[in-house]
């Protein structure tokens, strides 16, 4: 035991953990709980049945009410533990309920109907993972449609973003021409213009171009990103110009120089931009909300928003859908965190 304690309190280079270390670790573990707790909670909740979700106080593990098949009834009947007038406890199934009185039967003896005051009974729960929240999603709510829309926008917009931004970055880093500095400053200046303040006129532009209620109306305005141009330009500046001159000697066209020589060397920066772009497009909300008003064009984010606003929200499906929406982002986080953090450190934007 002392060995284990010594191992756990081992530090790199310093003697012992002092009280500031203990305080630090306490802070970190509280942070772990506060940052991951809410997400973990929604994941656990997404495996609960509809009735399990209404339990209060809620349980951490997915408990659902037990039900039984009773002869003479088509649907399965919910089970309750009932305190009988004589003081004994019996497990009964509910046939129907009117007001405060429920009519219940013993699954073993289906002939006899027993009236029970609902105060005298308690749900019988069992651990039950409601995977149907996920499997039924694809039939319900045209979930497949929303998933496809989101994936389409994310993939296509990211591909075009990589192409267009690297082209601009190439021109701005590997050539000297009049107006170059102006163009660069102009592009950087768009960083200062948040999309929120040009919503109305952009709506006009999009509708004039006939892109209203079209996935392309979400894609096109998003593919030219100042962050992307800046990130790639800074990276391309480090590629020696001699490489390009040598290729020109060999009669390579400018386009060939761009994609055969410069692009492969820019791969790490392109990867960072690809990650950013996927996150941006996957998480976009305000602009798609304005462009896409027909529900068959909704992205996952829009669908989530629409369903949570409904009067009778089916939270079991909504939670499952939320968890599915989180999955790609979590995978990116798990495997590519280092790329993201270095990307932020080098460009100062997310």
């Amino acid at each position: 035991m002392p060995d284990a304690l010594r191992f756990l309190t081992r530090t790199s280079g310093r003697a012992r953990l002092d009280w500031t270390d203990w305080l630090s670790y306490a802070y970190l573990f509280v942070g772990l709980f506060l940052m991951f707790g809410p997400v973990l909670w929604i994941v656990m909740s997404s495996f609960k049945t509809q009735s399990g979700l209404t339990d209060f106080p809620p349980s951490f593990l997915p408990y659902g009410q037990k039900s039984v098949q009773v002869a003479g009834n088509e649907a399965r009947l919910p089970l309750y533990r009932v305190k009988m007038p004589d003081g004994s406890t019996r497990e009964l199934a509910e046939l129907r309920r009117i007001g405060l009185t429920a009519t219940m039967i013993d699954p073993a003896k289906p002939g006899e109907e027993i009236p029970v005051n609902i105060k005298d009974r308690e749900k019988t729960s069992e651990l039950r993972v409601a995977t149907e929240n996920y499997t039924e999603l694809f039939g319900k709510l045209s979930f497949g449609r929303y998933l496809w829309n989101s994936v389409f926008i994310t993939v296509v917009a990211t591909l075009i973003t990589l192409l267009f931004n690297s082209m601009a970055a190439f021109a701005l880093s590997k050539y000297r021409f009049r107006g170059q500095k102006t163009v660069f400053l102009l592009i950087i200046a768009t960083l200062m213009i948040p999309p929120t303040i040009i919503l109305v006129p952009n709506f006009l532009v999009i509708s004039n171009l006939g892109l209203l209620n079209s996935l392309w109306g979400v894609i096109w305005p998003a593919v030219a990103t100042p962050t992307g141009v800046f990130l790639l330009r800074q990276y391309m500046l480090t590629i020696p110009d001699e490489l390009l001159d040598a290729a020109r000697m060999d009669h390579a066209s400018e386009w060939q120089i761009y994609w055969r020589i410069v692009l492969p060397l820019t791969a790490p920066a392109l990867a960072v931009l690809a990650i950013f772009s996927v996150m941006w497009r996957w998480n976009d909300f305000l602009w798609p909300l304005i462009v896409l008003s027909r529900s068959e064009l909704f992205t996952l984010q829009l669908a989530l928003n629409a369903f949570q606003g409904e009067l009778q929200t089916e939270w079991n499906y909504l939670l499952a859908m939320t968890v599915i929406t989180i999955i790609p982002v979590t995978l990116v986080f798990a495997f590519l965190q280092k790329h993201i953090t270095t990307g932020i450190a080098s460009s100062g934007v997310k």
């Binding site: 940052m35 809410p38 768009t190 400018e254 690809a274 986080f333």
Partner: protein
């Protein structure tokens, strides 16, 4: 340790170039077109061709809309197309600013607008203040010699990656009357609260939720600032056996100040534009307790039955004015030379 980090980096590089190879079909496909273009234009005009797609999109979806926005702000009516809109001069702005007492939104013609302005100002000050404090504390802890630093950094960064809709749904689920928060409260013997329908509580939660969602980003920037402080300063302090508190006040905080100012302005610029997560979480309510400026623009221009584009555009100008002030402040702080140094601390911070 360092070996595994190196292997990790190599793996990342290999992955990146594999990605590059997989995507090479796109430029390859364009090669015949571009070869023809170079023959027609000549090599010297090629850079403009490379720039064209980007400039076209920036022009269409950023610069042109800025101009149109002014036109909308100074015209009236409910028509979308500019030619059908009568010129009304300053009327939209006058409507927004029509108040008997600017400090009491209920005396204004557009009371919701002023409510939104005050909510936004209050939100920005409280949220940014608290968030910077938490970010600095977290960065200080992460900058210590702790086991598994990369993991802990990731913990605080994870919510940054979640979409605003998801963030809102997660917290709505926690805060609802039968939610886990009330469940925990009942567990320790405290009466449950209807968080989602209480105006003052919701304002508090909106601040807390947005800190939860964005803190990791600012923590990273502060952490980078901390790591830039020369180590020998701390060695010297240790030799003088200065107390940790004194080291923090005399070395860390003063040297962190420039970095911190950038963080504050950056966070303010974003806070003023708060919309998505609050809109999904509260819809602006209860009442107008959490209605912010961008939501006012969205509602006036798009969500309500009568689309008052002119009024929405005028409100955008007010927002743009606020952002301009903040951005100029930022450029002044950053010294303007940041771009040349290879760092553009992005103003609005959007793509």
């Amino acid at each position: 340790m360092s070996q595994s980090a190196k292997a990790d980096g190599d793996q990342g590089k290999a992955g990146a170039s594999a990605l590059g190879r997989a995507l090479a079909w796109l430029p390859a496909l364009l090669e015949p077109v571009m070869r023809f273009a170079q023959r027609v234009l000549g090599a010297r005009r090629m850079p403009w061709l490379f720039l064209a797609p980007n400039l076209l999109i920036f022009g269409t979806f950023t610069f042109l809309p800025i101009i149109i926005n002014f036109y909308y702000a100074f015209t009236g009516g409910v028509k979308l197309f500019p030619s059908e809109r009568p010129f009304t001069g300053m009327e939209n702005l006058a409507t927004l600013f029509d108040c008997r007492d600017y400090f009491d939104p209920s005396t204004c013609r557009k009371d919701i607008f002023w409510q939104a302005v005050y909510n936004t100002a209050k939100f920005a000050v409280l949220q940014v203040g608290l968030m910077v404090v938490f970010s600095v504390i977290t960065a200080l802890v992460l900058n210590r010699k702790i086991i598994g630093r990369g993991f802990w950094r990731g913990v605080y960064f994870y919510p940054v990656l979640l979409s605003p809709v998801v963030v809102a749904l997660i917290w709505k689920w926690i805060l609802q009357s039968q939610g886990v928060l009330n469940g925990l409260l009942v567990g320790v013997g405290v009466a449950p609260t209807e968080w989602l329908t209480s105006a003052s509580w919701m304002f508090f939660w909106v601040i807390l939720v947005s800190i939860w969602a964005h803190m990791g980003f600012y923590t990273l920037i502060v952490l980078a600032g901390l790591q830039a402080i020369p180590k020998d300063l701390y060695d010297a302090a240790q030799m003088d056996s200065a107390s940790p508190w004194r080291v923090l006040r005399r070395i860390t905080l003063p040297l962190l100040m420039p970095n911190l100012l950038v963080v504050i302005v950056l966070a303010l610029i974003r806070a003023v534009q708060i919309f998505d997560e609050v809109f999904v979480l509260t819809g602006g309510g209860p009442g107008t307790a959490t209605t912010f400026l961008v939501q006012f623009i969205y509602q006036t221009g798009f969500a309500e039955a009568i689309h008052l584009y002119g009024l929405a555009a005028a409100a955008s100008l007010v927002l743009a004015g606020a952002l301009l002030v903040l951005t100029l402040l930022q450029l002044k702080i950053a010294g303007g030379g940041e771009i040349k140094d290879g760092k553009a601390k992005g103003g609005a911070g959007h793509a």
